[in-house]
Amino acid sequence: MIGAIRGTLRFGFEFIERPFERLFGAQLNPLAQLGALGFFFFWIVTVSGIYLFAFFDTGIERAFESVEYISREQWFHAGVMRSLHRYAADLMVVMITVHLLRQFAYDQYRGVRWFSWFTGLPMIWLLYGSGITGYWLVWDRLAQYVAIVSSELLDRLPIFGEPIARNFISTGTLTSRFFTLMVFMHIAVPLFLLFVMWVHILRISRPKVNPPRMLAAMTLLALIGVSLWKPALSQGHVDLTKAAVEVGLDWFYLPLYPLTDSWGRGGVWVFLGAFSLMIGLMPWLPPLRRARAAQVDLAHCNGCARCSEDCPYEAIRMVRRSDGLPFPTQAQDSASLCTSCGICVGSCPSSTPFRRSEELKTGIDLPDFDLKTLRERTIEAAKALSGPNRVLVFACDHGGGRGVVGAVHLPCVAMTPPSLLDYVLSRDLADGVAIAGCAESACFNRLGIVWTKQRIAAARDPYLRARVPRERIATVWASTLETRRVTAAIAAFVQRIAALPHKKLRSPQAASAAFVQPHTPPVSTEAGSAP
């Protein structure tokens, strides 16, 4: 059932993400930058909030007038700031919703990824807490409505001795005590949100917390434009003798408030409880059956730290050498963080298929799908190829190539060490190698596409050797909806190869003779990283 919902949602995302990617390019695609945009909106809210606070009167008597002054007299700076503050906050709700749905749709929330998902839950509460206290401070008709409905909701819980809603229904009992508390909360809750935002990405390597500059600039410009077009305004001074029964609601922050009228306050709490429980349990509903975590084989690890650099989930730490080999450090993998993506296998300089050893070993490997198996499958798949223009496909399990028959299927295309591509071409196992990964802005393993591109471009260790003819390597990044695009790209690649002058490649002596004795640390040139 959950799987069906996820599948449908994934279909939806893949469907709308293509036009977005086409218009914005993979780099600027806002759908691939949701987390970063969330941070960006947070900073806009922070800066505009500090600006507004300078004008804001924190006393309940003068609060409304001070906000009116901001919006009317000083509209060209403070008023714009007020609009930025409101709209960036609204956009955070939009962002958090789409981000949550997207992580769910792409199944990036189960298994060891539970942590980011789980910490997302308090962020939802904190974001709403920030927004609702913010609307309170304006002390207009909407604030009156928010104050009454919020306190009625709180009164439903057995926390307060007296109904706090009584504070807001008759002029006689109104105290500014609660108002001062709200001013404090509106600063404290967002600060706490920022703290949880930091915790949220602790287990993510190189998290995207800043959108690309171009996207940031356009976002800010558009926000300013919208602020001028539709300035954020108050809705009349609080009048406690009149019921605030007609208000222009912020439907991002207050969608549940009208529901208190139809479901009752208890009903809204039940909904919130059920929603939180569901979000909280989702990473284990059902638990992800995952391949075993990567394992370090110290005999083949020289402590170069490439795996640790490339791991998308902070799963590898470099620690002091423990086995006496003459290297200062060694890799250490944490099973509770590893998603078994295999990217580290592709990074390790010891992952060289040219070795003749029966037991092909490398510095870090996936126990359930090791480098040796990968080489075997590559050779097998190559054997099945025939004809003049043989193209061997390495396909990621999560992208458009996952259904390609005869391909070598991997958890991530970045699991292929560049030397394996060299191996295929120089041993004449195929005339060309196609790499079919996820859509560019939706890499399941976050960094697999970037690393693959950089390795082929010889911009990142381990390089694809200079001797490997790049025209015999093709990449296609496509979502699972775009299987036809993958087939077409492979067919076009076959055509391109056919047009190439026939070039018989031979593996150089050095590489084929490379055989590492047990306990002999790998030499980095063998990894195919030397130009």
């Binding site: 218009l23 914005f24 390019g25 600027l28 806002p30 609009s83 409101r86 709209y87 609204d90 956009l91 939009v94 909407l142 409505y145 009625e152 009164d155 001795g161 007296e162 109904p163 809603a165 009584r166 229904i169 008759s170 002029t171 006689g172 009992t173 171009m214 356009m218 976002t219 410009l221 558009a222 926000l223 434009g225 919208v226 602020s227 077009w229 539709k230 954020a232 305004l233 809705q235 406690l240 003798t241 009149k242 019921a243 605030a244 029964v245 007609e246 208000v247 222009g248 609601l249 912020d250 439907w251 991002f252 408030y257 009208p258 009228d261």
Partner: protein, 166 residues
């Protein structure tokens, strides 16, 4: 990147943001029907505890340690408060309000909202906060004219022991 493409990107972003801004204070939500007013019955009041006190018998007083001897014993818990509200001669609310607190020693609370058409209304509110089972300890009635969207509050002031219409 071509300028045309950049313009396209900007238009998409700006349109999205404009839609978000539009929903930040619209559509308007109306909680009660137009032309209606709200009568709110709310107070926080502790039932009289003294009324429940009991004179101890001389034997019972004898049994107490000398420094703790007293003539009466008062239960810690309070009794519930009985309250009823009539609007236009119709009983719209009646309840026995239990005291708050685990030991039942806190005040009783009520917070009830009644949506009525604007206009004239006869209001009668009565309350019992002593052990009596008949009649009332506090009562107030009156006719009020409610304007549309007015919030009319019926409160209780324990200091002077009467209901307040506001």
């Amino acid at each position: 990147m071509s300028y045309l493409r950049m313009a396209g990107q900007f238009v998409v972003i700006a349109a999205l943001f404009a839609a978000v801004a539009a929903f930040s204070d619209a559509p308007v939500y109306r909680q009660t029907p137009r032309g209606s007013a709200i009568v709110m019955l709310t107070f926080v009041h502790s039932a009289d505890r003294k009324a429940d006190c009991r004179r101890l018998t001389p034997e019972e007083i004898q049994k107490l340690p000398p420094n703790m001897r007293r003539v009466t014993e008062c239960p810690r818990g309070r009794r519930p408060i009985y309250v009823e509200l009539d609007l236009g001669g119709r009983r719209v609310f009646q309840a026995s309000l239990a005291p708050a607190g685990i030991a039942g020693d806190g005040p009783s609370k009520v917070y009830e909202r009644f949506v009525v058409p604007a206009g004239n209304h006869d209001i009668a509110v009565r309350m019992r906060d002593t052990p009596r089972t008949e009649g009332f300890d506090h009562e107030r009635r009156g006719t009020v004219t409610l304007s549309p969207d007015q919030m009319f509050v019926i409160d209780f002031r324990p200091e002077n022991g009467d209901f307040v219409f506001r």
